[in-house]
C-alpha cells in the first residue's frame, strides 16, 4: 500500500496529477449524474418525494431512542441477537467473539461503510480469520489494499485496465495467456472466485441500509445480490448498523426506497432490496442458523444535540459526491476519511475532531449542488460553513489563513476604511491591468493565472457604481 500524505492539500495535489484517477473520474458526469437526472425526469413527483423522505428521517431521529428500543424488542422476538456498541473497540470485540464462537475461518462481507469506520477487516484478519469482501468494487479495493473511494461505487477511482492488472497480480490460478476482452470478462472471473468463497464461508457480515422498527428487520439494498449471498448462505449472519439506520415502518422504507436508488445510481430501484428478519425458521430449507445485529454509536449520539444533527438524515446514496465539483476533481481518497465528498467533509470532522479535519469543510466551493440533489435535503453547504466557523473558533485554521481573515474582517467591519481601501485597490488593479484589461500573472494566485487570465476590475467599486445608479434613478 502506498503511504498517503497526512495533509489534505498534498493528497489533492497528488490526486490532480494522477492520470489513472483523472481518467476514471472523467466518466462521472456522463454516468451517475446523467442517470440521476433521467430517473428524476421519469418521476414527476420526485421533489415531493424528497420532502417525504426528509420528514421521515427527521421524525425518526427526533424519537431515535424510542424507535431503536422497539426495533431491538421486535428483532429479538424474531430470534435475532441484538448487541450494542459505543465505539469501534466494542463493536470489533463483539463481532470477533461471535466469529470465534462460530469457529469461523472464512468470513464473507457485504458492503458496509460502518465496518470501514471501525477497521473491522484488519481486526478479524489479525485474529487469523480470512475476510473476503464480496461487493465487486469492495473486492477490488481489498485486493489493492485500499479504502473505498465512494460510498456506492468503491472502485470508481480505477479504470478497467487497472482492475485487469490487479486480477493478474492476485489471482494466482490465472494462466498467463488468459485474455480479458472487457469488463464482462473481468466480472466473470470475479464471480467464479467469489462463488467459491460464498459457499465456503462460515459467517457472513453485512451492513444495513435500514433497520425496520415495526418488524425487527434488516434491509439490504444491492445490485449484485452479494448482500443476500453473504447474509443467507453462511451459518451465521452478522449485520453491523449505526444507530441512525432505524426507520419506523414498512411504509417508511417504501418512501425512502423511492428516492434512494434514483438519487444514487439513477435506477428507479436497485435489483435487490431484501428485508431479513431473524434466523432460519423451523421448516426453512435455507438461511442462517443464527442472526446477530450489532448497533453502533461511534460518535453519532454527539451529533443529536449539535448543530450538525441534520447530517444524521443521510441514507448514503452518494449523490452529493457525484455532483460535487471538488469530488469530481480529486476523487474520494484525497478526503482522507471513511466518507468522502460533501457528506464526508461534514462527518469526518464530527468523528475525528475539527483539529484533524479542518481542511475538509474548506474543500468546497459551496456551490450548493449537493443540497439540491440530496434525497433527504441535508443543508450540506450550511453545515460546511458551520464547521469552518468551528475550526476557526478552535484555532484549527492555519495562521496564514487566520491572519488574512482577520485583516479582511478588520477592514470589512469599518465601512469608511473599507470604501477607501477597496477604491484604492480597484483603481490600482485597473491601472495595472492596462489596456489589456486582464492579468497574465497575479501574486498569490499563480495557480489560477497559469492556465487563464484574471480579468482586471473596471476601475470603480461596486459601491461606487451602485451609488451612481441610485443617483441617476432618484434624479
Amino acid at each position: 500500500m502506498i503511504e498517503e500524505p497526512s495533509n489534505f492539500t498534498e493528497r489533492s495535489f497528488r490526486a490532480l496529477a494522477d492520470q489513472g484517477l483523472q481518467a476514471a473520474l472523467a466518466g462521472l458526469p456522463g454516468g451517475l449524474v446523467k442517470q440521476r437526472s433521467m430517473a428524476k425526469a421519469r418521476l414527476p413527483e420526485f421533489e415531493a418525494m424528497r420532502v417525504v423522505a426528509r420528514d421521515i428521517r427527521d421524525h425518526t431521529i427526533a424519537n431515535l431512542d424510542a424507535y431503536l428500543d422497539v426495533f431491538a424488542e421486535r428483532a429479538m422476538a424474531a430470534g435475532s441477537h441484538v448487541h450494542w456498541a459505543r465505539d469501534g473497540l466494542e463493536a470489533r470485540a463483539i463481532i470477533l467473539e461471535i466469529c470465534k464462537a462460530a469457529g469461523a475461518r472464512l468470513v464473507t462481507k457485504g458492503k458496509s461503510m460502518v465496518s470501514e469506520e471501525i477497521a473491522l477487516n484488519d481486526h478479524l484478519v489479525a485474529a487469523g480469520i480470512e475476510v473476503v469482501e464480496t461487493d465487486l468494487g469492495e473486492y477490488i479495493v481489498q485486493l489493492r489494499g485500499e479504502r473505498p473511494s465512494h460510498i456506492i461505487a468503491p472502485a470508481i477511482h480505477l479504470t478497467e485496465p487497472q482492475v485487469e492488472a490487479e486480477f493478474r497480480r492476485k489471482h494466482a490460478h490465472l494462466p498467463i495467456d488468459r485474455r480479458f476482452a472487457d469488463a464482462a470478462d473481468l466480472v466473470a472471473e470475479a464471480r467464479a472466485v467469489l462463488r467459491e468463497k460464498f459457499l465456503a464461508a462460515d459467517v457472513g457480515i453485512t451492513g444495513a441500509n435500514f433497520l425496520v422498527a415495526e418488524t425487527g428487520s434488516v434491509v439490504l439494498v444491492t445490485n449484485e445480490g452479494n448482500g443476500d449471498l453473504t447474509a443467507q448462505l453462511p451459518r451465521v449472519h452478522i449485520a453491523l448498523a449505526s444507530i441512525d439506520k432505524v426507520v419506523p415502518t414498512l411504509e417508511d422504507t417504501a418512501a425512502l426506497l423511492r428516492v434512494l436508488a434514483r438519487s444514487g445510481t439513477g435506477q428507479d430501484i436497485t435489483a435487490y432490496t431484501s428485508y431479513l428478519t431473524g434466523p432460519r425458521h423451523q421448516r426453512d430449507p435455507d438461511g442462517p442458523l443464527a442472526s446477530h445485529i450489532v448497533i453502533l454509536d461511534n460518535g453519532r449520539s454527539n451529533l443529536l444535540a449539535s448543530e450538525f444533527r441534520d447530517a444524521l438524515r443521510c441514507i448514503r446514496c452518494g449523490a452529493c459526491m457525484n455532483h460535487c465539483p471538488v469530488y469530481n476533481a480529486i476523487g474520494g481518497h484525497a478526503y482522507g476519511g471513511v466518507y468522502a465528498g460533501p457528506i464526508g467533509a461534514v462527518l469526518t470532522p464530527a468523528f475525528s475532531g475539527i483539529a484533524a479535519a479542518h481542511d475538509l469543510p474548506s474543500a468546497s466551493t459551496l456551490c450548493g449542488r449537493c443540497e439540491d440533489v440530496c434525497p433527504v435535503k441535508i443543508p450540506l453547504p450550511k453545515l460546511l460553513r458551520r464547521w469552518r466557523e468551528a475550526g476557526f473558533a478552535a484555532g484549527a485554521t492555519p495562521s496564514r489563513r487566520r491572519l488574512a481573515l482577520w485583516a479582511w474582517a478588520y477592514v470589512a467591519k469599518r465601512p469608511k476604511l473599507y470604501r477607501v481601501v477597496t477604491r484604492l485597490a480597484v483603481a490600482a488593479l485597473s491601472a495595472l491591468g492596462g489596456t489589456r484589461g486582464a492579468f497574465g500573472y497575479l501574486p498569490f494566485a499563480g495557480a489560477w493565472t497559469r492556465s487563464r487570465d484574471f480579468p482586471a476590475p473596471p476601475g470603480r467599486t461596486f459601491q461606487q457604481l451602485f451609488a451612481e445608479q441610485l443617483r441617476r434613478v432618484t434624479r
Binding site: A77, L158, E224, L229, L250, I269, Y275, T277, H281, D284
Partner: protein
C-alpha cells in the same frame, strides 16, 4: 454497552427537546400501530389492467423477459420452450409450492428437483406479489420458495399471478403484513427483485450476472 446504556445516552442527547422519553415512546408506538401512508406518485396508484401493463413494461425496462400465459397449466411447456430456445439446461430447482409442484413437468419435458435450494443453473420461484411502479417482484422465503433460489442460479424463473400485481410498494408490503399477521413475524427473507444481478463497479459499465442470476424471466398467468 447495554441496551439501557445506549437508550440513556441517546435519551440524554435528545433531552434538550421538550418531549420526554415517555412522550417519544408514545409517539413511536402510535406510528407503528397505524403506519401513515405517505404521498404516492401517480405511477404508484391505480389498479387493474393498467397496473398489470405498467408492471410488464417496467420489468422489461430493467432487461428481464416477460412471458404472458393465460393459465398456470401452460407453465411447464412455456418454460421448456424458453429454456430450449436459450440453449439452457432442461433441469430446474424449485421449493415445495403446490401451485408449481402439481403441474405436469415430465410431459414438458422438464426435470423438476424440489424441496430445497439444490445447486442448480436454473431455478423457479412463485412470487407473492408484483409491484407495478418499478416492475418489482415480491418473493417470500420459506419451504415453498427457498430464499436462495433467487440468488444462486444463473437463470431465475418466476411465476406470478396477474391478480397479485399491485401498484405500489405500500400495497404489496401491506399484503405481506396481513399474510404474516398470524405469526406476527415476517418470513425470514422478503426479497424485492427488480431485474437480474448486475454491477457497474468496473469502469462504470453495467455488466449482468455479477453474483446472482444473469437472467430473470417472469411468467405472468391468470
Amino acid at each position: 454497552m447495554t441496551r439501557e446504556e445506549m437508550m440513556a445516552l441517546i435519551g440524554n442527547r435528545l433531552g434538550f427537546e421538550r418531549r420526554g422519553e415517555a412522550a417519544r415512546r408514545r409517539l413511536a408506538e402510535a406510528r407503528l400501530a397505524r403506519p401513515p401512508i405517505h404521498l404516492l406518485p401517480a405511477i404508484a396508484c391505480g389498479g387493474g389492467a393498467e397496473c398489470v401493463a405498467g408492471f410488464v413494461e417496467r420489468v422489461r425496462a430493467h432487461g428481464s423477459d416477460v412471458l404472458e400465459l393465460s393459465n398456470i397449466a401452460e407453465l411447464p411447456s412455456r418454460i421448456a420452450t424458453y429454456l430450449a430456445t436459450g440453449g439452457f439446461d432442461l433441469r430446474l430447482a424449485a421449493g415445495c409450492d403446490r401451485r408449481l409442484l402439481d403441474l405436469k413437468w415430465a410431459a414438458a419435458p422438464l426435470e423438476l428437483q424440489h424441496g430445497c435450494a439444490v445447486p442448480c443453473r436454473v431455478a423457479l420461484s412463485h412470487a407473492f406479489a408484483g409491484v407495478a411502479e418499478t416492475g418489482t417482484l415480491v418473493l417470500l422465503s420459506g419451504p415453498d420458495n427457498p430464499g436462495l433460489l433467487a440468488f444462486l442460479p444463473e437463470i431465475h424463473l418466476v411465476a406470478i399471478a396477474r391478480e397479485s400485481v399491485v401498484a405500489s410498494y405500500e400495497e404489496a408490503l401491506a399484503r405481506v403484513r396481513l399474510a404474516s399477521s398470524g405469526t406476527r413475524q415476517l418470513p425470514r427473507a422478503l426479497n424485492l427483485v427488480s431485474g437480474a444481478s448486475r454491477t457497474g463497479d468496473i469502469g462504470g459499465r453495467i455488466v449482468m450476472g455479477a453474483h446472482g442470476p444473469r437472467r430473470l424471466a417472469v411468467f405472468l398467468y391468470g
